[in-house]
C-alpha cells in the first residue's frame, strides 16, 4: 500500500459520502484546507477518522487531531502513512 493508494482511498471515501464524483475537483490541490473550502466538516472528519481506523487498523488519538495535521488531503495521507501501526490494508 503506497501513499497514492491512501490518497485514492480518501478521495473515494469523500465521493462515496459527500461529493459523489466531484471530490477531486473540489480538492484541487493536496494542500487545500478541507474545512475552509467546504470539502469536509467536523462531523465528516469524525466519520473519516473512523473509516481510516477501520481500513488501516490504526488508532487515531483524538487529542492529536488539529487542522495543522489533518485538514488537507496531503496532511491526512502523511498522517496515516506515518502512523506507527500503519501496515497498509490488513
Amino acid at each position: 500500500m503506497t501513499t497514492s493508494d491512501v490518497r485514492r482511498t480518501v478521495v473515494d471515501w469523500l465521493d462515496d459520502n459527500y461529493h459523489f464524483g466531484d471530490a477531486e475537483r473540489l480538492i484541487g490541490s493536496d494542500d487545500r484546507s478541507f474545512l475552509e473550502n467546504g470539502i469536509l466538516d467536523s462531523l465528516g472528519f469524525v466519520k473519516l477518522i473512523l473509516y481510516l481506523e477501520d481500513t488501516y487498523k490504526i488508532k487515531i488519538d483524538r487529542n492529536q487531531l488539529s487542522p495543522r495535521n489533518f485538514d488537507s488531503l496531503g496532511l491526512i495521507v502523511r498522517y496515516v502513512t506515518g502512523h506507527r501501526d500503519y501496515r497498509g490494508v490488513a
Binding site: D15, D16, N17, F20, G21, D22, L35, E36, G38, D41, S42, L43, F45, V46, K47, I49, L50, D54, R62, N63
Partner: protein
C-alpha cells in the same frame, strides 16, 4: 432483567415539581388518592376526558367559552376535544402571565458565526403583531396556507406566530431541502405566501438558495407573495411574484398596544401542517389543531419536562422537523427557548456544547446521532463545556442506546436526568417521555405520556406490559385533525386506523415494562429512520427510478452499530439487462438524491440485486428485506412469491456489517 438506575430525582425536586402540584390538584378536585405517578397515570387513562378537563384548569391557558364537554366521542379516530372553546395559539405563547414577564428574555438565537440575538417577550410580541398586521394587508387570512423555507432563527418564529395569529396555517421545511422534496410538500397545500431565507450557513460558508426559491415559487401557481426573512439579495425576485423583506414589513406596520385583544379561533382550528413521507405516494400533509397542539405541549413541557419560568430550553432541530414546533410551544410555559442555526461543529468540534454552556441551558434536547458524534470525536464536555445548571438531557429521533447513557454520565454530566422521548410528526408530540418524579433506568424512557393509553399490540391483542407495535387506544387532543386534501378522511384512516380498527397504530415497535418504563425498538413499517431523520422511501424511489438503467429500487434501514444513530440507509437496485452497478452509476444515484432530495436521502450503500422481495399480490416487502439484512427471522415468508431473493440480499458482500449477524 431490570436495568440499573442511572439517575434518581432528589426528594425536594419531586416535591417542587409541577407534576406533584398537578397530582395534588387532581386529588382535591376528585377526592381520589393519587400518591404516585402510577396512580395518576391510571386515572388519566381511566377517566381521560376528566383528566384533560382538569389539566386545562390547572394549566390555565388563555381560552374563552365552555370547557364542557371536554371530549365528544370515545373513538380515537373521530373524537373531538373541547368543541366549545376558542383560543389563540400565539396569544398563549406571548401574553405574559405576570407583568414582569414582558422584560424577561423569551428567545435567544445563536448561530455558528457566534452571533447572538435575544428578544424579550414584549419585543417578540410586538414584532409578531406588527408582522401580522402587514400579512393581513397582503391578504393573508383564516385558513390560508403560509409555507416557509426557513432557518432556525428568531425571525422564523416571528413569521410563524404572525401567520397563526391570523388563523392562517403554517407549514415549514428546512432550507437544505431540495426543490423536488420541497415542492412535493408545498404543491399539495396551494399556499398563498412563502417565507424564505435566501441562504443558510454551513461550516462558515453561506449557501445561497435563491435559485431554489425561484424554482419553488414558479411551481406554486397559488402563490401571491414571497417574504424574505433576510434583506433582499439582488438575484431575487423571481418573475411574476411580489417579494417583500420581513424587516421592512415589520418596520412599516403600526405598533399595536400590548392590551389589544388576540383573534381567537376554535379549539380544533388548523394550526400547523407537518409532513410525513411513506413508502408510496406523495408525503402526507398532517393537519394539527391549535388547541390539541397547545394542550399536549403544555402537558409535555410542564408535567413531563417540569419546565417553568426559570428554565432555558434548547432542542436541536430545524424548521423541517416537528421538534421545532414543540420547542416553540415551550414559550407558553414561560420558558426561554434557545435556538442555534448552522453547523453544530463549527468552528470547533464542540462549538454547540460550548454555546449551550455559555447560555446556561437547563434542559438540552438532542439526538442519539449527535451524542454518537460527540463520543466518536472524543469530546469531553464535562471539562470543556461544563453545564452546572443543566438538569435534563432529552434525546429523540432515534433509539438512545444503553452505552450512550453511560457516555453522557461519564463525559457530559454525572448527575443529570437522561430522558429518551419518542413520538413524532403524526401526533406533534410524544408517546413516551421523561418524568421529574421517577428514576431513569439505563436505556429506557421513564414513562408513558399522561392521558394516552399506549399499549403494545401482540398476537393476542394489546397489552400494557409487553412488546409489539405501538398502539394508542383512547382519544387524545393532539391526534391530527386529518390530512390536507383528504376531506373524506380515507387516507387518514388508511394511515393510522386501518391496521388495528379503533386504535392509533403508530408504526413503531415498543416494549412496555411492568415498571411503567418503555423502550422504542425501531420502526415497524417501511419508513426509514437514519441518523435520527425519518425518511420516506417513496421520495427516494421517485428520483432513483428516473435514472437510466435503474428498473426497481428498495430502500431499507440496516442496523450498523458504528454509524451515528446506529443504522444506515441501504438501497437495493434492480438494473436493466446488461447494466452493471459500476462506480459512476453508484455516484450518480447518490448525487441525484443529494441534490434533488437532501443529504439525508443518500444511501450509505447501493447494492445491485436481481430481484426485490415481492408478495404474491405484487406488493414489495421492505420489511422482509429489512429483517434479512438485520439478521432477524422473516415473518410471513410464505407471502413472498420470490423468497429466494432474500438469500442473495443476505450474503451480498456490500451489505455485511460488523456486529450484525445476518
Amino acid at each position: 432483567m431490570t436495568p440499573p438506575v442511572v439517575f434518581s430525582p432528589e426528594p425536594r425536586t419531586i416535591a417542587r415539581s409541577n407534576l406533584t402540584a398537578f397530582s395534588r390538584f387532581c386529588e382535591e378536585a376528585t377526592g381520589r388518592s393519587l400518591p404516585d405517578y402510577r396512580s395518576l397515570f391510571a386515572f388519566s387513562i381511566a377517566e381521560s376526558a376528566r383528566f384533560w378537563e382538569l389539566f386545562l384548569r390547572w394549566a390555565a391557558p388563555y381560552v374563552e367559552g365552555e370547557a364542557v364537554p371536554a371530549c365528544v366521542g370515545t373513538e380515537c379516530e373521530t373524537a373531538q376535544f373541547f368543541p366549545n372553546l376558542r383560543l389563540s395559539y400565539p396569544e398563549n405563547l406571548l401574553r405574559p402571565r405576570r407583568p414582569e414577564d414582558d422584560a424577561r428574555p423569551a428567545i435567544t438565537a445563536l448561530d455558528e458565526a457566534g452571533h447572538r440575538v435575544s428578544l424579550t417577550r414584549a419585543e417578540l410580541r410586538a414584532r409578531v403583531r406588527r408582522l401580522a398586521q402587514a400579512l393581513e394587508t397582503l391578504g393573508v387570512g383564516e385558513g390560508d396556507r403560509v409555507v416557509a423555507m426557513a432557518r432556525n432563527t428568531a425571525t422564523s418564529i416571528v413569521a410563524c406566530l404572525a401567520t397563526t395569529s391570523l388563523g392562517a396555517i403554517w407549514s415549514s421545511t428546512a432550507p437544505d431541502f431540495g426543490t423536488e422534496a420541497t415542492l412535493s410538500r408545498f404543491q399539495q397545500l396551494e399556499p398563498k405566501l412563502l417565507f424564505a431565507h435566501p441562504w443558510y450557513p454551513y461550516h462558515g460558508v453561506r449557501r445561497a438558495i435563491t435559485d431554489r426559491i425561484t424554482e419553488v415559487a414558479k411551481a406554486l401557481p397559488s402563490l401571491e407573495r414571497i417574504v424574505l426573512l433576510e434583506p433582499i439579495p439582488e438575484d431575487v425576485p423571481p418573475p411574476g411574484v411580489g417579494v417583500e423583506a420581513v424587516d421592512h414589513l415589520i418596520a412599516a406596520a403600526n405598533p399595536i398596544p400590548p392590551e389589544a385583544p388576540w383573534r381567537r379561533f376554535g379549539f380544533n382550528h388548523p394550526l400547523f401542517i407537518l409532513f410525513s413521507s411513506g413508502t408510496t405516494g406523495v408525503p402526507k400533509c398532517i393537519v394539527h389543531g391549535a388547541g390539541g397542539t397547545l394542550l399536549e405541549h403544555l402537558k409535555e413541557h410542564r408535567l413531563h419536562s417540569d419546565l417553568g419560568q426559570e428554565d432555558r430550553l434548547y432542542f436541536h432541530t430545524s424548521c423541517g422537523w416537528m421538534m421545532w414546533n414543540w420547542l416553540l410551544s415551550a414559550l407558553a410555559s414561560g420558558t426561554e427557548i434557545v435556538l442555534y442555526d448552522g453547523s453544530v461543529s463549527y468552528p470547533e468540534p464542540d462549538s454547540l456544547l460550548k454555546a449551550l454552556a455559555r447560555e446556561e441551558v437547563t434542559v438540552f434536547g438532542t439526538s442519539a446521532a449527535y451524542l454518537q458524534y460527540c463520543k466518536d470525536a472524543g469530546l469531553a464536555p464535562r471539562e470543556t463545556a461544563p453545564m452546572p445548571r443543566l438538569r435534563a438531557i432529552q434525546s429523540t429521533g432515534s433509539i438512545l442506546w444503553d452505552s450512550q447513557y453511560d457516555w453522557i454520565l461519564e463525559n457530559l454530566k454525572a448527575d443529570v436526568a437522561i430522558q429518551s422521548i419518542s413520538g413524532g410528526t403524526d401526533i406533534i408530540g410524544c408517546f413516551v417521555l421523561g418524568n421529574p418524579v421517577l428514576p431513569v433506568y439505563r436505556g429506557e424512557s421513564q414513562c408513558v405520556s399522561l392521558g394516552l393509553d399506549v399499549q403494545a399490540m401482540t398476537p393476542s391483542g394489546p397489552t400494557r406490559t409487553g412488546t409489539g407495535e405501538l398502539v394508542c387506544l383512547n382519544p387524545f387532543p393532539s391526534r391530527p385533525i386529518g390530512l390536507f386534501g383528504d376531506p373524506g378522511g380515507t387516507r387518514f384512516h388508511e394511515a393510522y386506523f386501518a391496521q388495528n380498527p379503533g386504535m392509533w397504530t403508530h408504526g413503531d415497535f415498543v416494549q412496555l415494562t411492568e415498571r411503567g418504563t418503555a423502550r422504542i425498538l425501531g420502526r415497524s413499517d417501511g419508513t426509514l429512520n437514519v441518523r435520527g431523520v425519518r425518511i420516506g422511501p417513496a421520495e427516494i424511489y421517485q428520483i432513483v427510478l428516473g435514472i437510466p438503467g435503474v428498473l426497481e429500487a428498495m430502500a431499507v434501514e440496516q442496523i450498523a452499530p458504528r454509524e451515528p444513530g446506529g443504522s444506515r440507509l441501504v438501497l437495493l437496485a434492480v438494473l436493466a439487462p446488461g447494466t452493471t452497478l459500476d462506480r459512476p452509476l453508484t455516484l450518480r444515484i447518490k448525487r441525484e438524491l443529494s441534490q434533488r432530495a437532501s443529504s439525508n436521502h443518500v444511501p450509505a450503500v447501493v447494492a445491485q440485486v436481481s430481484s426485490l422481495p415481492t408478495t404474491h399480490s405484487g406488493k414489495r416487502s421492505e420489511r422482509a428485506a429489512r429483517d434479512v439484512l438485520n439478521g432477524k427471522p422473516v415473518v410471513n415468508l410464505g407471502a413472498l412469491r420470490n423468497p429466494e431473493c432474500l438469500e442473495e440480499i443476505r450474503i451480498h458482500p456490500a451489505l455485511q456489517v460488523d456486529g450484525v449477524q445476518a
